[in-house]
Amino acid sequence: MDVKRKAIFTLARVVAVLLLSTVLILLSGADPIRALQAFLSGIFGSAHGFTEVFVRATPLIFLGLGVAITFRTGFFNLGAEGQLYMGALASTAVVLLLPASWGSLRLPIALVSAFLAGGIWVLFPAWMKSRLGISETVNTIMFNYIAIMLVGICIRTFLQEPGSTLPQTAIIPEDCILPLLLYPTRFHAGTILSLVAAVLAWFFLCRTTTGFEMQMVGMNKRAALCTGLSVPKSLLLSAVIGGGLAGLAGFNEVFGVQHRLLEGVSGGNGYTAILVALLALNHPLRVVLMSVGLAALQVGAATMQRTLGIPNSIVSIIIGFIVLMILCGSLPEILEENHPILRKRKENIRHVE
């Protein structure tokens, strides 16, 4: 019964999404069949398109992992955006300020500093929550804006490209760029790093004692406390790891894609990552799946826009719509709870069975 109902629900959701997409495509005056062709050819039609899916999925994987890990301990980290900026800022600063003689040794140093910067950035709100009881919701959003401000200041002052008036840093040295895996596409080694991070995160969360303790804290703080776990320790640790992973997304964007630090390096991915984590039910490996799925949507929609003029904003509409439908999942139980008539009928059916 339950499985059947779940299947019906999933099917209804898929149909609703397809229906919505068709309506949106028709409204913009395009033919849905041709749009589908464009969508698929955008993803699978060329090596560039196919690798672009992974280029776009990579920051989402890092961010989604970061958010998922902090969500697991019940810390609602809305600050992935800011952690990304801090990671990008720290890693860029390290590479540009260290002497050139260090060569490509600067790349791993940048990676570590991105992780640390993201982790330290989330440590403030996490500490404020565990120590002072300050809700992290508004606080993490504030830290996003403060991080964006810091980046804005740095790329206009000591990190600004010499001789340029644009708010951007110099291009990072050639020997520090993440190697391309498939010339001439933008597919770079950052994707592999993100997959490694996903596996490590999965192992850590689902196969180690510390990870188990974190999940326990997230499920029932009081029970965790009563069994003698240190709740603040779990919370801070998960926050630092999550923030660090979000920081790596910044590192990935600078060293794999942009090759310099600009304003708007995230493109709002920090907020999308919250939805990725939700769709993945905070499971690290599903985060990868969802990120690739969302990235494929983006790449396909970009092709639809180029060839048929369909606004690519339909991706945001569809992602938002899917999440809202998932959130509707608790509707049947609550309906039954509030309207006993429904519950009775179901019990009767059960009797007949």
Partner: protein, 317 residues
């Protein structure tokens, strides 16, 4: 450079710009304040504002009526706020996730629909006439603040009335007290017979109306054009103002004014070609918000409503 700054004309223009930038933020933040007092933390404030801005613009563009535009903007904002309320109150989902999803959904929807309008307009970029300014006689002539406060449009004047009304409502009426009690302890409020859910929905309705009004005002009162993501994070700013203003109407308006001043200063500094990173000014209010959060927590005053963000389930303890 300092000669250009230290004169009356500069300050008059600076104050005027500060108020101008503060008004949409103040509306959205006041709405969010009421919502938070009832225990609903709506991150989707950005969605309320952006949808209000778009619908306000679209309706005014089609009908030529600013009044209809504002009404449409407010209604749309209210729809999204009520949707948030339905998901958080009835379906008991995480309020942050709903808000984030709504923000993304509305960002996509407004960009998409605006693109459709632009395509149909063929050629001319759609724009509307903005709200006329109505100078208040005598008061306009006050030095420094006259132009800033009394040479504005009707929506700005309505804000002054709204502030007074909200102060009175929250401190002097039963309804205001009921609202606060529901945010603090919904079970106690329920026990004494207050309609908890209805009041929560009403608070969300107010939040949406104000957010929609703020968004619509941004486009219809100031810009005259809509563009993709025209609110560009103002909803999040308003969210910070609620905390920064310590959930008090006057405090929030001062916070909004401060934010407006920071922005106005940034624009002016840039215009004067001042050689320093002006991001400091716009970032400062966020730093101050964090400091306010810490101070409130340490002093244990003006803390969050106790039941903020938590769904209230009648049958569960």
């Amino acid at each position: 450079m300092w000669n250009e700054i230290w004169n009356l004309a500069f300050f008059t223009a600076f104050f005027s710009a500060s108020v101008r930038l503060a008004v949409p933020l103040a509306y959205a933040a006041l709405g969010e304040m009421v919502s938070q007092k009832a225990g609903i933390l709506n991150i989707g404030l950005e969605a309320n504002m952006l949808s209000g801005a778009f619908m306000g613009f679209a309706v005014t563009y089609w009908t030529g009526s600013l009044l209809l535009g504002f009404l449409a903007g407010m209604t749309t904002g209210a729809c999204f706020s009520l949707l948030h309320a339905f998901f958080s109150i009835y379906l008991r989902q995480n309020q942050n996730v709903i808000g984030t999803a709504l923000n993304l959904f509305v960002l996509g929807l407004t960009s998409y629909l605006f693109q459709v309008i632009v395509n149909q307009a063929s050629g001319a970029y759609p724009q509307v006439d903005i709200l006329p300014t109505i100078p208040i006689p005598l008061l306009t002539n006050l030095p420094l603040v006259g132009d800033a406060l009394f040479n504005k449009d009707i929506i700005t004047y309505l804000l002054y009335i709204l502030i007074v009304a909200l102060v009175w409502f929250l401190n002097r009426t039963m309804w205001g007290l009921s609202l606060v009690s529901i945010g603090e302890n919904p079970r106690a409020a329920d026990t004494v017979g207050l309609p908890v859910f209805r009041i929560k929905y009403l608070a969300a309705l107010f939040n949406g109306l104000m957010g929609g009004l703020g968004g619509a005002y941004l486009v219809l009162g100031q810009l005259g054009v809509f563009s993709e993501n025209v609110t560009s994070g103002r909803g999040y700013i308003a969210l910070s103002l609620v905390v920064f203003g310590r959930r008090k109407p006057v405090g929030i308006c001062l916070a909004a004014l401060f934010m407006g001043a920071a922005n106005a200063l940034q624009f002016r500094m840039q215009a004067l070609g001042v050689d320093m990173p002006v991001q400091m000014f716009t970032g400062l209010p966020y730093v101050l918000t964090v400091i306010v959060l810490i101070i409130s927590a340490v002093k244990r005053t003006d803390a969050d409503p106790a039941a903020l963000g938590k769904p209230y389930v009648r049958t569960m303890r």
